[in-house]
């Protein structure tokens, strides 16, 4: 796994590190980015890193990481590494995949 210096630094502090692969300002990419930012603000305030990779500008990075389509979000750390494809509009599914408490549960509990 290739990690940027920032990513490994954040990882060492136990923070959440994401990479998001987008295609310029395409609608799903923009939506995924907005959803990811919102999610991080809510669940990991002050302890997250998001690296945005525009595949229109850096296609080789997508190839290196074997990214097939955009938008794709990669959770780099903490392990295990996870890959989420799509615009992250189904929040519950994303939260479940990331092993985070879901909203209904929070409200009910």
């Amino acid at each position: 796994m290739n990690s940027s210096p920032a990513a490994s630094n954040a990882a060492s502090h136990g923070a959440y590190v994401f990479q998001i692969y987008v295609a310029g300002g395409a609608p799903n990419s923009v939506q995924a980015l907005a959803n990811l930012y919102a999610l991080c603000r809510e669940y990991f305030p002050g302890s997250h890193r998001i690296e945005v990779i525009d595949v229109l500008k850096e296609p080789l990075r997508a190839l290196e990481e074997v990214i097939l389509v955009t938008p794709t979000v990669v959770k780099v750390s903490p392990a295990p590494r996870q890959q989420i494809i799509g615009n992250l509009s189904q929040e519950e599914e994303v939260l479940r995949a990331l092993g985070l408490p879901q909203k209904e549960q929070k409200e009910n509990g």
Binding site: A23, A26, P27, N28, S29, V55, L56, P59, L60, A62, L63, V66, I67, L68, V69, T70, P71, A79, P80, R81, Q82, Q83, I84, I85, G86, N87, L88, S89, Q90, E93, V94, A97
Partner: protein, 427 residues
């Protein structure tokens, strides 16, 4: 949206690792496919890093364009986007309801051709200030030609779209309904059909028609004057030439008089330096001034002297004022021309003579056509007495003011030309 969780990084055997990696890639491909079917993918990364943008993304963009157009069309105001040259680039559907045009009939036309002659200068001045960035926005009222050939009073707010098209101005137009003259007939020539038999119109036509045959005569006289065979007749030819020129000038004056009376003066507005115009006019009048041995005192002290005006017409106004001052000055007298910025955005040019002056009772009549003091003055000073009427009409077409003051007979007179300045582009 699909989620793939990577297998634990360490495997007991090489083979298992390979199989697990393969399974992972397969799962990723499946999930990518799933996201595709949901329409949540906007690009596919192909071999060599080539990126394929998917059509749904472009269609979404087109959809948002359609939404924006629908939004524009739902607005009650007529929204007209005009480029620097005054050409209409786009207009929303409200133009049909408000003015009767189909949008495609209007696009590509010059907006100012659709504005009443009498309102062009005020509309253009607002447009100029916004397009050149002197003003953020402006609000003006003018009569806009409708498809039925009528003029409709509109209030327009002008502004720019700085992010989208910085070189364009958006006119947001709404009809003024709280006025009794909401709609008025267009000028005969734009409305079509026969014009009314109007005195001013007749005068304009007549003076124009009478002026036309004079030009070839003037050329003919000039030709004869240059011909050595008629050397003896030169003084007579010169006299014929002078009188035809005078006749031509009088007819031009009559034509201008008719145009001013009908409020039909067409102005080609541009940014010009009023001080330069004064100096130019003094040059033109140089021989007359020298002939009367008149001293001109120039005190152009205004720091802001750029105005939006029709160069020729403004010179004509000044020319009339200078000629007037010279005409009513005693031989060997003096006239003074001064400028001052009397208010922010205001320029006043004063043309003062120390000549015969004007008695208080006649002051209000100075700008009336055919007034020139009493009858004896008429004979003494010549001309039709239309100059000041034309000067005032032309000034008002520029949205300026022309006023006169005099302390009485023998006390001289001062004409004050008030204009609005525009911001200077260079200093």
């Amino acid at each position: 949206m699909s989620v793939v969780t990577e297998a634990p990084p360490f495997h007991p055997t090489h083979h298992v690792g390979k199989a697990a990696a393969l399974a992972l890639r397969l799962a990723e491909a499946e999930n990518a496919l799933h996201a595709l079917t949901l329409g949540q993918v906007d690009a596919i990364i192909g071999p060599g890093g080539k990126t394929y943008l998917l059509r749904p993304a472009q269609e979404l963009l087109r959809q948002s364009e359609r939404q924006q157009q629908a939004l524009l069309d739902s607005v009650a105001d007529v929204l007209t986007v005009v480029n620097r040259g005054g050409v209409i680039l786009s207009v929303n559907r409200a133009v049909r309801r408000v003015l009767g045009y189909a949008p495609e009939e209007v696009v590509g036309n010059t907006l100012f051709k659709l504005i009443h002659d009498a309102d062009i200068s005020v509309a253009y001045s607002a447009f100029f200030n916004v397009v050149e960035g002197y003003h953020e926005s402006a609000t003006v009222r003018f009569r806009h030609l409708t498809r039925d050939g009528l003029y409709c009073w509109m209030e327009a707010t002008l502004g720019k779209l700085p992010d989208v098209s910085p070189k364009c101005v958006v006119f947001s137009l709404r009809p003024i309904t709280n006025t009794s003259k909401g709609v008025e007939p267009a000028l005969p020539e734009t409305a079509g059909g026969q014009p009314p038999p109007d005195k001013d119109r007749f005068l304009a036509m007549l003076s124009h028609e009478l002026r036309i045959p004079l030009t070839p005569v003037l050329f003919g006289v000039a030709e004869l004057q240059a011909d050595v065979r008629f050397a003896e007749a030169r003084p007579t030819l010169a006299m014929i030439g002078r009188n035809i020129e005078l006749q031509a000038r009088l007819l031009e004056e009559l034509n201008d008089f008719a145009a001013v009376g009908q409020h039909k003066v067409r102005l080609r507005l541009e940014a010009i330096d009023a001080h330069e115009a004064v100096r130019f006019v003094l040059e033109i009048c140089g021989s007359e001034i020298a002939e009367a041995a008149i001293e001109v005192r120039l005190d152009l002290a205004a720091s802001e002297s750029m105005v939006l005006a029709d160069s020729l017409r403004l010179q004509q106004v000044m020319w009339n004022l200078v000629k007037n001052a010279v005409k009513f000055s005693p031989r060997g007298g003096s006239i003074s021309i001064a400028s001052v910025n009397d208010a922010p955005g205001g320029l006043a040019l004063e043309f003062a003579d120390h000549g015969v002056g004007i008695v208080p009772e006649l002051l209000p009549l100075v700008f009336d056509p055919l007034q020139q003091g009493d009858d004896s003055m008429q004979h003494r000073y010549g001309g039709l007495g239309l100059g000041l009427f034309i000067a005032k009409g032309l000034t008002e077409a520029h949205h300026g003011t022309l006023t006169v003051a005099s302390a009485g007979r023998g006390q001289g007179a001062t004409f004050r030309l008030g204009l609005k300045t525009i911001a200077q582009t260079t200093r």
